[in-house]
Amino acid sequence: MKRSHLAAATAVLAAAALTAGLATPAFAQTATTSGPTANQQARLAFLKARGNGAINVRLHTLSNDGTLVTSAVHLTQSDQSTLASLISADEAGLSSLETTIDNDTTVPQATTDVRSIVTSYRIYVLVDPKIHLTVATDRGLAAVATFQQLASADQTEITAATSGNIAAAKTALSSMNNEVVLAENLLTPVPGEVLPLVPAGYPANKPTLQGAATSLRQARQDLGMAQAYAGQVQSDLA
């Protein structure tokens, strides 16, 4: 009897040991494939929220830029078309990326995708500055066109003038025209310099943006002087 109890106990232990031996690997395997832990899930949710937020603010910026570009009537058709295409492509790309991020199932995937919002698009440090530099150029060229129209009106006044300091008015008008030409020469190349810049080239292409901004500042100074000369023409003829 004792012997049979001992045998039974041994059999139970052996079965338990076997069960444990079989179950342990199975359990371990289940643990590694059952999805992210609570921490990973929280991190994934965080990344998705950050990604969606980052994309939405960029889409808002691009929408505003689209409106701006539409109003830039002094741009060449080619430049305006380039900017419109750039904006559309970035909007489409970011919207697609948002879907990708929403469907990400792991933290590494989401991290890579969320980072690409910045690295693949460079909306704030490259695209938006490109657009505003180009539109600033448009505004400057609009002013150039108005100065040229003003020069015509001034010339009519000078030709008909019988009083006032006519010689000084002529000189001021000539100076105004010279400043306008200087400004136009600085403004005209800017779109061609900045529009080809792409996110993959950033930050190496940042100096090109800075150089374009410098050209625009110089052009602005010339246009400011042209403004002063324009006022001088009027005052000389008064």
Binding site: L47, R50, S71, A72, V73, H74, T111, V114, R115, V118, R122, I123, Y124, V125, L126, D128, P129, H132, L133, A136, D138, R139, G140, A142, A143, A145, T146, F147, Q149, L150, S152, A153, D154, Q155, T156, E157, A160, N165, T171, A172, S175, L209, Q210, A213, L216, R220, Q221, L223, G224, M225, Q227, A228, Y229, A230, G231, Q232, Q234, S235, L237, A238
Partner: protein, 107 residues
């Protein structure tokens, strides 16, 4: 008389001052829209927000009379002010972006 101004701000201030003076002279009653051969010039439709770049309305050649030319000049100077104001705004926005950095959104 030739003037040289090195500061854009000074130039703008001078220009604005002269424009005011010119506008006052132009508005002395020496002309009326009826005396011109073309439509009276209008202020260019440049908005104060994002800024438009439309050319001034008076684009159909040179004014044919001195009085019309003076009126057109006043209008042109007003348009230039608006265009350059918009220019300044756009350049400022561009500079802000150029000098900024985009943070890592995963952090």
């Amino acid at each position: 008389m030739r003037i040289r101004i090195r500061s854009a701000g000074t130039a703008l201030a001078l220009g604005l001052g002269l424009i005011v003076g010119a506008a006052a002279c132009g508005g002395s009653g020496s002309s009326s829209p009826a005396a011109t051969t073309g439509p009276a010039p209008t202020v260019a439709p440049v908005s104060s927000g994002t800024g438009g770049s439309a050319a001034p309305a008076a684009t159909a050649g040179a004014p044919s009379s001195p009085s019309a030319a003076a009126a057109a000049a006043t209008t042109d100077l007003q348009s230039i002010n608006a265009q350059l104001s918009s220019f300044d705004s756009e350049l400022s926005t561009a500079n802000t972006g150029i000098n900024s950095t985009e943070g890592d959104p995963t952090q």
